[in-house]
């Protein structure tokens, strides 16, 4: 098959993917979105004869628009722009999970400092304030007191981009020092790991320790439902255990649409890039049956 890779930075994740695709003799068109223009009738990018495009943009804004245009050109794109749109925004993410009946942390959105303060007080302390768009645990605030809440809200109001004035307030989930990252393709887990840290943020990007994790039936069901809730695709589904380690009860706090998997690949026996490429071949074949011949 001929695969387009949308990117602006090649991380280890993209190298793993590129190496796997090359090992299988697939043609690759690397598309650096910084150098391209996307028009209504076509693009400067070389998209001729692409069977499938994989969005690996590091920038969420570029990811959202580039996938929208690729979809407009009737080329299958992973992930599709609707999925990206929901996953890129934490408020939309929460709404989609709740609508699908997937347990997710209690969340309120407010648009002014006063109403955000009311939302915070309704949760009590600690609670969590997150940017609606953001990643790697950046700009996440655990609010332990009224004075801390007032300070963070004022900073966001005065210094923030308009999106920071969409105050996304969430209950603090007392997880057992770890959360669970599942990489899944259309709801089917590729592999899962725990991310453990003494810090309340356990993201691998924040230095959380990773270890493989065996999903139980409840978690498997939640991953499938969460994936369906955002339209499926290659996703990173994040769960927290509620009620302690190995409680068997979970809440799904986030779904990522340009999921990083190098940490996962390093701590499980599953060959993550190979499994992802297996799935890409299937998707390309569904869209264009001759793609993998």
């Amino acid at each position: 098959m001929k695969v387009g890779i949308l990117y602006s930075r090649i991380r280890q994740d993209e190298k793993l993917l590129l190496n796997e695709l090359r090992d299988r003799d697939h043609e690759i068109e690397k598309i650096d979105v910084r150098k391209q223009q996307f028009g209504l009738d076509g693009t400067t990018a070389d998209i001729d004869n692409l069977d499938i495009v994989v969005d690996r943009c590091l920038s969420t804004s570029r990811s959202l628009y580039a996938t929208r245009f690729i979809d407009h050109y009737d080329i299958p794109v992973i992930n599709n722009p609707e999925t990206a749109d929901v996953c890129a925004d934490k408020a939309k993410n929460s709404l989609a999970l709740d609508a699908a009946g997937v347990p997710t942390p209690e969340t309120k959105v407010a648009f002014t400092v006063d109403s955000a303060m009311d939302a915070i007080e309704s949760f009590g302390y600690p609670c969590v304030l997150k940017p609606v768009v953001g990643s790697w645990g950046r700009l996440m605030a655990k609010l332990d007191s009224e004075s801390a809440a007032e300070a963070v809200l004022e900073h966001k109001k005065v210094l923030g981009h308009y999106e920071h004035k969409v105050f996304y307030v969430q209950e603090f989930v007392d997880k057992p020092g770890r959360d669970i990252r599942v990489v899944a393709t259309d709801g089917e887990p590729v592999a899962a790991m725990t991310r453990t840290s003494d810090h309340w943020l356990t993201n691998a990007a924040k230095g959380g320790d990773t270890a493989g994790f065996e999903l139980d039936d409840t978690a498997l069901d939640l991953v499938e439902k969460a994936s369906d809730a955002v339209g499926g695709g290659l996703l990173g589904v994040d769960l927290m255990e509620v009620g302690g380690e190995n409680s068997g009860k979970y809440t799904v706090h986030e779904i990522n649409h340009t999921v990083e998997f190098k940490a996962l690949n390093g701590c499980v026996d599953v060959d993550v890039p190979a499994t992802v490429v297996d799935w890409l071949e299937t998707k390309a074949n569904e869209a264009t049956p001759e793609a993998t011949q």
Partner: protein
């Protein structure tokens, strides 16, 4: 193993054989983050600063 000059400090940066255009490497001398902008011959430029919407 190939080499290229660091655009920040001018030091020689050793590169792995499987470098990719778009990959980010660190200059071992000055610590600058550098982007591979060509591989044959290898060429480096200063990497873009982290943007707020970067992530997964």
């Amino acid at each position: 193993m190939s080499e290229a000059d660091c655009p920040e400090c001018g030091a020689t940066v050793e590169l792995h054989d499987d470098i990719e255009v778009g990959e980010i490497i660190d200059c071992g001398t000055c610590g600058a983050e550098l982007e591979v902008i060509a591989v044959d011959p290898p060429e480096l430029d200063t990497a873009p600063e982290l943007e707020e919407d970067w992530g997964e």
